[in-house]
Symmetry: C3
Subunit: 136 residues, 3 copies
């Protein structure tokens, strides 16, 4: 995904991209129901991946995320250069993006589980982590 930080005092004010890496941890009790297809699972890894992929990864992948504070004229120009533009009402820092991903996923989790934490790597050496316990 590409982003640009509005009014940032460094290179990141320019449009640039990262290979983000996302790690989602849910918390819940393992199903104890011998013979049930999901016996022994908190959540089926496949089901979690499907949710994360459809609600987050596929939307953000190869998109350009832009703060709505950017001048409209610039946004219009950008829209002519790419079809995947996401206008957000926050500065697209890793911290804000990981909070936004938490907000999105909380709407789509199966019953019985909840978010425990989300870690979003912007680069191999830089990540922001969101904990449910800090955001209640």
């Amino acid at each position: 995904m590409a982003h640009a930080l509005f009014e940032y005092d460094g290179l990141c004010r320019n449009i640039h991209g990262h290979s983000y890496n996302l790690e989602v941890t849910l918390i819940g009790k393992s199903k104890k129901q011998p013979g049930h297809p999901k016996d022994g699972m908190v959540v089926d890894f496949g089901e979690l991946k499907k949710i994360v992929n459809s609600k987050v990864v596929e939307k953000f992948d190869h998109a350009l995320m832009i703060n709505s504070l950017f001048p409209e004229s610039q946004i219009e120009l950008l829209k002519q250069t790419t079809k995947r533009i996401i206008i957000v009402d926050f500065q697209p820092t890793t911290e804000n993006i990981v909070s936004d991903i938490a907000r999105i996923l909380q709407q789509h989790l199966p019953t019985g589980v909840s978010l425990f934490s989300i870690r979003l790597y912007e680069t191999v050496t830089s990540f922001a982590e969101w904990f449910a316990s800090d955001n209640q």
Copy 2:
């Protein structure tokens, strides 16, 4: 290790294998005893590795873990194909295996330390994590 999920509604009902990756974290106070061989350690990494290897890794490595709910006839057939079969009274999901590893390790830890967490990767992108604080 190989496993199969009894009555699972997908490909994992078949016998298949993973290169599991195990991360064990202990908690305790560092020994403050200048001149002692283990001064400054919570636990000697070598001692922890020895315990984890002998009690968990060597037993599970290249074994086939099977739910005891599998029909006896199938289990008998499997025993003819492999010498390393582990029959467990739970569905061998990552969640249940990590809990079982916690149970095993708790019996073999040196005094003064306890389990903090165990993370078991089933694949590079899928893990289950057990926290002592959730299981008291």
Copy 3:
């Protein structure tokens, strides 16, 4: 960095080196100040890296860390072999080094954020982790 463990009952009593890997996590609120250069950040990754590099990495990198309990004659000899020697009043285990790094960083953090945790890998498979919540 190289180290040696004074009176350790194994190979680590000899001077040997590791490619340590350090992971620092801060906690704080994201700045909510649209138009501000650091809007949406808990801390600028660049600022954090600068602090960690200048206060820790550059000091410890390619140095030899030695317990002050080593006989003075040995320390004098070592000083003739290397210019980067750090004499510490603790056994330089990963546990003690990570605590020392916490002590150092706490003196240099920007206002509004604090240490959450520090994980120090001695090798790819061995780490010690320091949590602020355990050290208050």
